[in-house]
Structures are given as C-alpha cells and as structure tokens.
Symmetry: C3
C-alpha cells in the first residue's frame, strides 16, 4: 500500500502542490490546502474532519482573528510597471495587510517596505497579525534600486468575520491512548517551513493505516500555528491530558540537514525518550533544549498544559538562512530530505508500538540452546553473536520499557523490536502496557 | 542613603580603622572593634546588641576561654635594643602567650620563636589557644641574623576570667524567616583575613536598611571564629533551625582575586543555590566543596547543626600566600576588591528578596502583543528580543523559584528580577513564598 | 597464621596443583579439585561441605547434565603416531565429546577439528555441553600441516548418570548477614580462567578465619560455571536474598594486568560500592558495566534473582588473547598477580567489616585539642595534617556508611578504617549496622 521506493518523491510532489497557495492564519488558502490533504488521505481510506471555529471566539488569553482576504497587491511606478506583484510571489505583501490604494512619493513608500539587510537578494516573510496595518516585502537590492518618484501602493484585501479552519484525522488502535501528530498550514509559499510538515504528516497517516495491527490510536491535526494549537487545546485539554502518550509537532522536515528535536519543557516525556534514542544513533543529529523552541510545542508544553510533546525537524527553524525568506522554496527541499524524516518518524512509531514493559519469565538465564536460540558449541566467539539478545533478556526485568532496554544496551530501539517479538513468541518474556 | 559611588572606599577606610587593634578571642581588642562597628551602623539607624558570655561557660564540647590581656611584649638584646616589640606589630607575640620576664642565651630564646621558613621576610600569625605557653613571632631572616648572646624575653600578659563578647544586628522584614550573615572579629592586625569581613558586613546591613521593603528579616553577628560560632549556636540552635533560610559566613572579602564560595556540606542549600547562580556568570569565580572549608561554616554546617550556610570570600583563605602573615595588610586589600564582594552579596540579597515560586496565570502562551509586551510585526528577529522574558514565562509553572528559572534559562538570576516584577504587576504571574 | 610474605607464591603453587586436572561440568576432575581445596582449608581449621546434585535434576530452565567420563583420546596417523593426545594436553578433546573409534580420510577428519585461525599456534578450548557430538582441538598450524591419508579418531568417553558436585564453606560472624564469594571449578587445564579463582578464594577463607573478630558471616562456593550457580541459586534463593549483603564472583585473578570489576546489573549494590571505591585509587583499574558480563554474575544478577554481586578479575576474561586457549597456562599467571588480587579482596573485606553508619556524638566540631588529637599551636599547616580525620567527622552524620564518607573525601575507604576505629574508641562517634 505504501510505495516505499518512491515515498520521498511522493512527499516532495505533494509539497509542490501545496507550495503556490497563499495561506494565512485562516481563509481560502487554508481551505484549499486542507482540500488537497483530505483527498490525499482519502485515497488510502482515511477520513479527515474539517472543523471551523468562528472569528471572535475566546481561546484562553487569545481571540480567533478575522479572516484575511487578499485579492491583489502590487507597487506600480510612474510608468505603470508593477515593480512587485503579489501574483508573482505571495511573500510580497505582509500577511494581514489592510487595503490601500494611494500614490505616494518614494520616501513615504519606504515606510511601508520590509527587507532583509543581511540577505539583500531575498524577500522576507513578514506578518502583522494582531494590529491592523499594511506593508510590502521585497529584497533589499530592489529597495536600494528604487528611484525617487511617485509610486502606487495597491492592496485589495479585507479582514472579515469568518472561521479558523483546521483538519483532523483519527486512526483508532487497540488502545484508546493516542499518539498525536501536529503540523501547521498557515504560511504562504514556503517549502520547508510550511509544505513539508503536512506532506510528511499525511504520509505518516497512510503508513499507520497500512499497519496490520496498531496498539495505539493516532490523531493528526492540521492547524494554523500558535492560534490554531491554542484553539485546539482550549477545547480539548482534558481529553488530551488523559489520552496522549506522546506527541510530535512536525515542522521543517524536507531539507537535507541535521535531524533535530526540540525537547519538551523538562525533556522527560515518552516523546523525548523515543526520539532521543533514535537520534543518538544517527549521524548529523541535534538535540535542542526547550530553550530553542519556536513552533507549536510552545503551546503543547506550556505550564499547566504540559502535554508530552517534542518538535521534530530536519534543520531546526531559524538554524538555516533560508528560513522565513523567499529562498525557502522547492529547491531547498528534496525527496531524500523528506525520506530521512519519514524514516525517523516511522521508526519512532514502530518503537512506540512495541514499547511495552518486558518481563522475562524464568529465573536465571534461560537455556537458549534447547530452543535453538544459541550455538550449542561454545567457542570463543559464540557469546558476541547474541549480545544484544542477551542484553534484552538481562534488562527485561519488568522495570524497563523497550526504549529503556535499548538505552541501557546502547543500541537504537529498532534493534530491540525483532528480539522482543521473538522472545514474546517463545513465551520467554511477556510485555505489559502501562499506559 | 548608600553612597554607591564610594562604597568600596568606605569599606576600605573602615577596615583601615579596625586594622591596628590587637584582637584575640576575647578582651579589649574585640570590644574596641565592636564599638567602632556599632557606631558605624547606628549612623544608619541600625542598632547593634553587644552580648557577653562568661569565661568557663560550657558550649557543646568546648569551654569559653579566659580573656587574654596583653600590655607589653618585646625581646631586648644586651645593648637594651628591642629587637622586636609588640608595639610595632601585634603579630610579634603568639596569641594567648603567658607572661615571661627572663634573660636567656640565644639557644633558649630560639625555642620560643616562630617563623615561616618558606616566606623568610614575613612574620607569621600564631596562636596557642588551649594550652598555656608563650612564644614570639618574627621573620625567618631576623631569626637567622640573631647573634649569640643574652636576650631578655619580656611579655606582660594575663589570662583572666572575663567574657566572650559579640555583636548582633537584627533588621526585621515582612517574614520572620531570616537571612543570616556571620563574620569574625578575633584576629590581630590582618586586613583581609579579619578586617574585611566586618567592614563588608556592616555595609550590607546599611544596604538592607535602605531597601524600600524587605521580604526576609536579616541578622548579622560579629563573633570570634570557632569558639564564637559554637557559643552562638549552642544557645540559639532551635531558633536558627526554624528561622534561617540562607546563611553566609563572610571572610577575606577585600582583595582583588577570585570570587570564591565554599559550599555547604552537601551543597544543596538556598545559600549555595543563590551564590552558585551568581558566580557562574562572573569571571574569575571559584566554587569550592565543603572539603575546602576553613572558617565558621565548619560549625554552621556541622552534622546535627546543618544550617544552610556557605562561606563567601574573594580569594579563599589559604589560597593566597599572604594569609596568616604580616603581609595580609592594608596594601593587600583595595576599594575595588571590597566593592566586588559587595556587589555579589547585594545581588544575592536582591535575588533572595524576589525568590518566590512563580506561577503563570493563563494556559498556553499569554498574548503579549495586546499588552504591549511583544512587537506586533513578526519579523525574523522579533522572537530573540524577548527570549529571557519568554523563558521566564515558560518555567513559571509553580515548580520553580526564581533562581531555578534563571538556572534553566542559563542567565544570572539578576536578569530575571525585573521580568518577574513586570509580569507580577501585569498579574500574568503570581509569586508564592514557600518558606 | 597467614604467611603474608609468601601469600602470592602460595596461591600460585596451589593453582599449579590444580592445573593438570581435566575438569568439566562434573565428574572426577571436579572431585579431585575439591579434594585438594578441602584439604587446603582444613589445614586452617575450616571445614568444606561437598554437595552432590543428581543428573536430571531440574534447576529453573535447565537440567543437571550427565557426567562426562573421558579416559583416553588421540588422533593416530597411518604410521601409528599419535599426532595429538589427550594425555599431553586435555584441551585436545572437545569437552563432552561422545566416543568414537574410526579410521577416516583427512577430509572427514577435518570436519571434527577445531582451531583458532587468528592464533595459529594455540589450541582452543571448546565444549559442546548440550548437544551430543565429538571433536578434537589443535593449533591451526598443526591442522595446516596434516597430509592426505588415513587417520584414526579415537575417543574413549562416556556420558553417565552421576552428580553435579560442588564445595561450600561457611565462616560465621557476629551477624547472620553474609558476604558471599563464588568461583568455578569446571575448566580443564587453564591457569587464569580456572585455577586462579579457587586458589584465591580458599586463601580469602583462611584470611577471614584469621581475623580476631568478624562482623559478617562469610560463605564460599566452588561450583561449575553457569549450571552450578543456577543449581545453587535454584535451591537457596530465598536464603540468599535475605542474607547476602555483598557477593563477589571471582575469576581470572592470577595475571599481572588491570584490576577489573564487572558491575552488577544496575551498578548500585554494596559489592559495587566497595570495589569501585578501592579501584578508583589503584592504577590500572578498569570498571566494566554489566554489558561486559561473562561469568556467574550473569546468574546472580539476573532479573528476579537480583543478588548484590559483582565479578572481580585482574584482566577481564576475553580482554586477554590467551583466554580460552592453551596459552592460559602457569606462565601466564604469577605470584605478584595473585597477590594484587588478594590485596584488593582483603581490602574489600576489611572495608565491609567497618562499614557501619557513623554518627558523631557532639554538636559543632569536637574539641580535638583537649583529647590530644589536634596540635595545640595553630600554625598555618596544622589544619592540613588532620584533613582526612576532619572529613570523617564532618560526614559522620548518620547518613553515610564508611564507604560513602571515603567517597565524599576522595580517599580509599582503607584510609578511613583506622580513623573510624580511633574515634569509636574515644566515643566521639558511634557506628551503627543497618543490614
């Protein structure tokens, strides 16, 4: 069902379909995005619910904002040339800009222009969510090239009462306890810091759907960052607290850089534990403390919410110079980049699916030889051949889950899964779920 | 009220007034010293109590000793020259020397002379508190220059029943819980290892008196080392145990060397915590374990006493070669040295005064923008600008005091104080005292 | 009673007596070995019990095997030459080989030959305990030199119902709590990985017997590895759990290499604690985690058994190339090697014998001077002279045993024993046993 061969390319292609859409916290772009994702999972027999929360709804300390409708935006010079145009790149207009239609001198125009001085070729991504104003974004080089004269600032936009829209998938397992995967759908045309998350997330949903059996239930949400997670938490907190065993906020998962995790507030949750074990044995892995947080883990892990979430990325947001600029485009991500992230996340899911507390059923070492599990000739090298196996049995004492055992034995938990299954079949160990 | 400009010079000058006095465990020198300190704090409206504990009082395993009265002491040669004289330097006579008035040959004289072979220019500081004998102290060079002949050993001293005298200040705060500052007044003319401690301590008292409000009460004592702290503890232990939240033994705080702390026995008290946080962000700071103890922390932290004390110094006693010699004089200390110590201790006091357990009052991140606490335009660098603020809010979860939060955020607690005050005013956090 | 001068040589000589015997899991060689050990301890007034457990007895997941009787074994060439012969080296025949008496071509012979390709001069040690088959062992060089032709494979052996035989010593102390020392007697002619363990163990028994008084009782067992410890545990587990405070599996203790310890499963037992303290202050000491286990600690520490055992060695098994080969002979071990191991183990025993929880009996520092325990003249260097003493008193707070105090003071516990005894005599501290 999963085309493992081409999984990286599939995700890359899906991200490419999402890329051109102009998204914001809410509105048409979000709904177009969700339509694509919904169709993509439905092909695999998975249904996605679409939810709407009206403008003005109070969510903890925040209020659901108006929808931003943007139809057209450009700066026109005296000769009628559009020196920038929203149609060419939706980063050219600051998110949530209010309408304007005015001819001004260069000096006044410059007051409404955002650039990046240190990256003079790139258009910055800028928004002004919670105060009404307008601005255009362009490269510093273009700004410097502007000649004195008259310019037409034109933005045809509206802020209207509407809805915050998000998508939700639930794939039930044997247990009502949930693994929760969150990603966001609120940035305009940026590839890594927007399209990569949903593209990976829906493919993880398809992977989970393809499993023969599932211990855990899996929930996925597709929300605008910050206000979306706050909105979701505000109406689901009790349920989340009593059901989620591990949560992953997924962001920036399409590039070829480091594998990164931002740990939870105290770094002590099951989500931390599984990812840290896996990253320890990957080259180019980086573990960031919660001090380096930046995405929705800020809400999931906040004091009093305290859900067991980490944020998983390839290169961490703001650790790559293309972040929040026009250079975060489809050239910056790659099929191989996506595939690496997919591998880590599916490893994490498999680890969680076998992460019971194991207890060996005999006292002293089991006689492996009579079960055909140990060489019957004791040569110098017989011992080494089954070292990980023996370490599993030595620490399957009812006190450790599978990740604990892997950590003690200094191996990735993926190496322990097959061993745990084999000895469970031989009834030499019994795994117990404690959540 | 506090002349912050000249605080270093003020302390230096006060130490200079204390320097010439010949102190010992008890007696006239101690009382002269306390008179000066009492007058100094009374100028700031602070009263100091003077206490007397009679000779022979049993204090735990010890007995309050007799007072040592020293009037005159010298060694005279055959020509009537005083080759050394107590009048010139009170280190020339061993503390608690019994009287003598005898002409002897050089050989016999030498049996009563103490020097420092490794530091041949310096007079050592030597005492014989608990066995009656006499000796003179001089430089090794002088000893080597002595010619055969007759010498007059003359010491006019007495051991009399009297009192162990100490001074005590209490500055009350909102809470009856106390911060306790101890220093000693029992060494003769040594600048760092004697005069610096009282000079800093009374200025800390003046600083605390100048605060608009105080959460804690503050108690200061001025005692002879070892026997004084044992005497004080023996009659106040229950009170100290139930009232002291953090104690600081202050010693050697006038030189320009390292900032040093000797941790408590297990390094786990509030006094350790605040000083360790502050020293971590100072250059030239050294943290010593209790194995390096040497002053009255030996009593305050002893088994069964277990008060939450550290010892704070600039260069740790016995880590500087001038220690316990005539070179520990007013040239060895400096206004800047005093001021550095004053800064650390006033930082510690300010930290303790704000060291409540903070709890943020909303779920998920607060909306800082609507309160004018966050830039409303989200540019790439907006986040960094308020990083420490956000870290405060993220760990103000009711489980951490302010120092814990600072430690988690890797900043000195002094950086958190203003933030905690601001958010307390905005009612976004509430601080709770737990002691 | 103990000839400390010659203790290393004594152990070496005893190991030399055990060396030529052909031992296996059970049978005549084991009984000959136990006879020698029994006689050796009886000279010192210690009795050793000999126990027999019949073939076929079920012990947890295992079954006591048949006895292997080996009378003669060789390979004969066409000229009647014995190219190898069991009489010359008992490693030449694989342990538990079944009988054979057959002339075969070289090709077929080679199927029954074990060698070590990487160590072409050495005969390997190979056994086939739990499946019936036969084989010869020789050097790789000899194997390569074999010419085509006919060869006579001859093994005169039997597998018969008999007993698993082991020896046991108990030396009672004031407490019924036991220190337990285990070693094995099941390998043929190997010096370090067989004879060294029993040779040290019986000398430790003699040492303990020579002590004026013993706090703990001491038990020693001499068993075949793996099946022997499983057998012993299967019938003594409750007793062992309620009585053993520290256990030492002794193996490979005659060479001149590192001092090694394999920690218990979680490294947190009293046996770990005492050996780790002692090895920390020895040069050439190595601490291995339980992941490096290999001898009977595998059974004593197994889940659900969880006895407080470590394995003590000089060079750890399989860390020296002579391990399990004909090069592990009497040249590989030495009197000095044995003596070093004896020193560590007798240090460990002495440490355990004084490892009470100490509590100082006065508040604040004791007045050592009046007891003649401190110099009465306070010079600069007086303090250092009694530093370890003071550290003992500072941490004798009722919370630490003697090893804890030594660890805090960064000294081997052996330095603390005399101090603890002195202050116990002065009634300044009281030691309390908590097990």
């Amino acid at each position: 069902m999963i085309d493992k061969e081409n999984i990286g390319q599939d995700m890359y292609n899906l991200a490419g379909r999402l890329f051109p859409i102009c998204r914001s916290l809410s509105g048409k772009g979000v709904r177009q995005t969700l339509d694509i994702l919904k169709e993509y999972v439905e092909e695999a027999g998975i249904s996605m619910q679409i939810h709407n929360v009206p403008t003005g709804t109070q969510v903890f300390d925040w209020t659901v904002p108006k929808e931003w409708v943007i139809n057209e935006a450009y700066i026109e010079d005296e000769n009628g040339n559009h020196i920038i145009d929203f149609k060419e790149n939706n980063l050219h207009v600051m998110g949530y800009s209010t309408p304007v239609d005015e001819w001004v001198e260069l000096d006044e125009l410059l007051e409404h222009i955002e650039t990046l001085e240190e990256q003079p070729d790139l258009i910055p991504y800028v928004t002004s969510y919670y105060r009404e104003r307008y601005a255009f974004c362009m490269s510093e080089n273009m700004k410097r090239s502007l000649k004195p004269g008259k310019y037409h600032m034109y933005i045809d936009s509206e802020l209207i009462d509407g809805n915050l829209t998000y998508g939700e998938i639930l794939i039930p397992g044997e247990s009502q306890k949930e693994v929760f995967i969150s990603t966001y759908i609120c940035h305009p045309s940026m590839a890594n810091n927007e399209c990569s998350g949903p593209a990976l997330s829906v493919n993880l949903a398809r992977y989970i759907m393809s499993l023969e059996k599932r211990h855990y239930s899996y929930r996925f949400i597709y929300i605008p960052e910050t206000i979306g997670s706050i909105t979701y938490i505000s109406s689901h907190l009790d349920y989340m607290r009593s059901h989620i065993v591990a949560g992953f906020n997924i962001s920036c998962v399409g590039d070829d850089g480091d594998y990164s995790v931002v740990q939870s507030r105290y770094g002590d949750t099951l989500a931390d534990k599984v990812i840290l074990n896996l990253l320890k044995y990957r080259e180019n892995a980086k573990v960031y403390s919660y001090l380096e947080r930046g995405s929705d883990e800020r809400q999931y892990c906040s004091p009093g919410v305290d859900l067991p979430f980490v944020c998983f990325c390839r290169t961490l947001f703001d650790q790559y110079p293309e972040y929040h600029t026009s250079a975060d485009n489809m050239d910056f991500v790659s099929p191989a980049g996506f595939e690496g992230a997919y591998d880590v996340m599916t490893d994490a899911i498999n680890a969680l699916e076998h992460n019971a507390y194991y207890q060996v059923q005999v006292l002293c070492e089991p006689q492996l030889g009579k079960r055909g599990l140990y060489p019957t000739v004791s040569r110098k090298d017989a011992w080494d051949a089954i070292l990980v196996t023996r370490d599993f049995l030595s620490y399957a004492d009812g006190r450790n889950d599978l990740i604990d055992i892997a950590n003690i034995a200094h191996v990735p938990v993926t190496e322990m899964i097959g061993i745990a299954k084999k000895f469970t079949e031989h009834k030499l160990v019994v795994g117990e779920w404690r959540d």
